[in-house]
Amino acid sequence: MKISIQREDIQEYEVNMQDATLLTVLNEIKSKQDATLTFASGCRSGVCGSCSVRVNGREVLACGHKVQDGDFVEPLKNSPIIRDLVVNMDRAYNFNFKAKAWLNPHINTPSITQEDEKINEIQSDCILCGSCYSVCPVYAVNDEFLGPFSLTRVWKYVSDKREGKSDSKIENIQTNGVWDCTLCNECSLVCPQGISSKLDIEKLRSKSVMAGYSDPNFANFGGGFGFDGSPSF
């Protein structure tokens, strides 16, 4: 079976393995054929988010993808390539900081019911693999866009009964945040955890509107409203 890997140039490797995950194959190549092949890995079981790459143009976890003959493997897009399949995720990670994606606890922790728990259960499955930033067309052209995983994280906390400062979180995502997304849904399609940041962003938009914010793009089309972010109705 042959796979090719985008390094400085495209390099082809022949491996004799059946029904193997891409990560197993990459390890086999590194330890038996070419020690210079560079990729990141950790848990091998889809929870650490280290080994996300693109195969045939699609974001996958190397540990969760069964290799097919002829697969073409590339690094993630929209993050600086350090070497071969390893990209620098610092910038994407930093959006969690910019988006203030943490809990501002109440003084007394309210009790959470099974229904409350389900509201953000799937959002708390996120493994920060960065696939969503790689596929996001908005992040590709606006590197200040807070981006999918950090907005999902904001929704996770905003929707949590234990959150004490929901308003300031909503305020913080008005610029380069919820209104910049084109709702193209690409992030949902590649998420290995089945999270839809698009849906979360839509929910954050509703919350924003309820808090008195509006879509700045829409306001502009409506005529007569400026960019000052003031409510448009």
Binding site: T36, S45, M89, E121, I127
Partner: protein
């Protein structure tokens, strides 16, 4: 800039220590060889123990007794009491910072039964407990603005006489060696079960780097021979199937479809039972079909996904083939009741440390608890150490002279080690000559030998022959090395450095395993199958050999 508290490792233990050191007023810096959230902690599935009694009757005393029983008389009862008594507060704290625990119908934190527990005691978040705790801790660190530096590999601790004053690291991205000065250092680098290579459930990062470096810096380690084998790892890939699968009523079956053991006994007993069946030529399976699709999707979604991916079986309809695999290392760096090592200012916490709460066999659900309880202890005490040191310097009116005692470069006493930066550069510059011996081959061989001979069942003669082999590998190290000569993100080099650390720890495991002529918990000697009171103590080792 110099930090007060430097934390090596950004898993659960490291981040808890960071948060508490910060809250104690210290200037904190965290360094990780990966990114935070990628550590071993994210793989913990089963839960975190606390005798809340939310689901069935439970008590702190029962938790203490279960833990002590499983530890086989070599846990420190005081430490175990502290662990169990702090558990309720630990879970409450996690809840208060936003961990998404599963809940009961009456809006309490849900709990389930793990092996060796007399009650449903493990608080969980589906089978993503570690992941959700780790990510919440990370978010908390962001809220405090704690500095976290990614992709820097620990080389050595910098010491001055018997005190620590920082660490040297290899920046993986640039290939440059950097020094970070700090008044105190917390080691939170995880365990060493990757020695078992493809027979380990662990992340590829669990290579014992911090333990090795601590020994080189003069710290002591203990109980290295106690290595827990998890009964249910997937047969082909050693990927973990959580104990909660058995806790929920899963059966273990042999090829004949017969049950052969109490599935809810502690891990050492279940692993040995499986091992014995396998010696008879049986294949072993876990059967959770009777739990039903709804339950499996609700409580064990990850298990279903992994079994399908790695074994091509769907646990809703099929038996899942399993084998025991190296999962957790009870041994580690010796610490006192403040989490401090023998080196002043150097603290250790998490799997790399030995707080003497697990003894000869850890209970499921106690390791997440350990990192919260002792992470706090380490963080608070590291911060206090710095405060006291600064105060005493002021009072001696020598502050001006002494404040940078560690940075007077001439007096830095670099720890003796084979991974010093002076030796890294030549390793990369050895022309295009490929190393004579391929360390990847040896790494795999070491894993195979350890699984077979230093695994679930051990024997003096065989252990001694493995020790000869390991010494031989160590002697051959100069002939090994890296064939990748790049400075930029050289994982070949990192893996070689990790391998060297594992090789060193292998030697210590063997010394402990050979000298412990008895069977206790996870350490089973076929030639001494019974517990022997004379060995009801700890094996303590420093860089010169067995101390006690």
């Amino acid at each position: 800039m110099k930090s007060d508290v430097l934390i090596i490792g950004a898993g659960g233990a490291g981040l808890v220590a960071a948060l508490h050191a910060y809250e104690s007023g210290a200037k904190v810096r965290v360094i990780t060889k990966e990114y935070p959230t990628r550590s071993q902690t994210c793989m913990a599935q089963g839960g975190i123990n606390a005798a809340l009694g939310n689901v069935g009757e439970d008590s702190v005393e029962a938790h203490v007794q279960n833990t002590l029983k499983s530890a086989k008389s070599i846990a420190n009862e005081e430490a175990v009491r502290l662990l169990c008594e702090s558990a309720s507060e630990a879970v409450k704290w996690l809840d208060s910072i936003g961990v998404c625990f599963s809940r009961t119908k009456d809006a309490k934190i849900a709990q389930r039964t793990l092996g060796g527990a007399s009650a449903p005691r493990a608080c969980y978040a589906q089978d993503y407990t570690g992941l959700k705790i780790l990510h919440t801790l990370y978010d908390r660190c962001l809220a405090y603005g704690i500095e976290i530096l990614n992709e820097k590999y620990l080389l050595d601790f910098i010491t001055n006489k018997d005190s620590v004053c920082g660490a040297t690291v290899l920046d993986i991205r640039s290939g440059e060696v950097e020094s970070y000065e700090s008044s105190s250092v917390v080691i939170a680098t995880g365990g060493y079960a990757r020695i078992y290579d493809k027979y380990s459930t662990n992340s590829t990062a669990s290579t014992g780097d911090g333990i090795s470096a601590a020994i080189r810096a003069g710290a002591r380690v203990s109980d290295m021979e106690f290595i827990q084998f998890h009964p249910t790892a997937l047969k082909g890939s050693s990927i973990l199937i959580s104990e909660s699968a058995r806790g929920a009523g899963g059966y273990l079956l042999n090829s004949k479809g017969e049950r052969f053991t109490n599935e809810l006994a502690p891990r050492d007993e279940v692993s040995r039972a499986i091992h014995n069946e396998m010696l008879k030529g049986e294949d072993i399976f876990i059967d959770i079909r009777h739990l039903g699709e709804k339950f499996i999707d609700e409580e064990l979604p990850q298990e279903r996904k992994l079994a399908k991916l790695y074994e091509n079986v769907d646990p809703v309809y099929d038996l899942v083939p399993i084998k025991p695999s190296a999962h957790y290392t009870m041994g580690g760096i010796e610490v006192d009741d403040k989490s401090c090592t023998k080196v002043r200012g150097l603290y250790a916490v998490g799997e790399c440390a030995n707080h003497r709460v697990h003894g000869a066999n850890r209970l499921g659900g106690n390791s997440l608890l350990e990192l919260v309880v002792f992470g706090k202890q380490a963080g608070v005490n590291a911060a206090k150490y710095v405060k006291d040191m600064n105060a005493s310097m002021h009072s001696h009116a020598e502050y001006g002279n002494e404040k940078s005692m560690c940075s007077r470069s001439g007096e830095w006493e670099r720890v003796s080690s084979s991974t010093r930066d002076e030796e890294l550069v030549p390793m990369l510059q050895r022309g295009n000559v490929n190393p004579e011996i391929d360390f990847y081959k040896i790494r795999e061989e070491l894993g195979n030998i350890f699984y077979k001979d230093v695994g679930i069942s051990r024997d003096k003669k065989i252990l001694e022959s493995v020790l000869v082999k390991v010494k031989n590998y160590i002697a051959q190290l100069p002939k090994m090395g890296v064939s990748d000569k790049s400075k930029i993100y050289n994982t070949n080099l990192i893996e070689f450095l990790e391998f060297k650390n594992m090789l060193e720890l292998s030697r210590l495991i063997l010394k402990g395993a050979i000298s412990r002529e008895e069977s206790r918990g996870a350490h089973f000697r076929a030639d001494f199958p019974n517990e022997d009171e004379n060995f009801a103590s700890h094996t303590i080792v420093d860089k010169d050999g067995v101390v006690a």
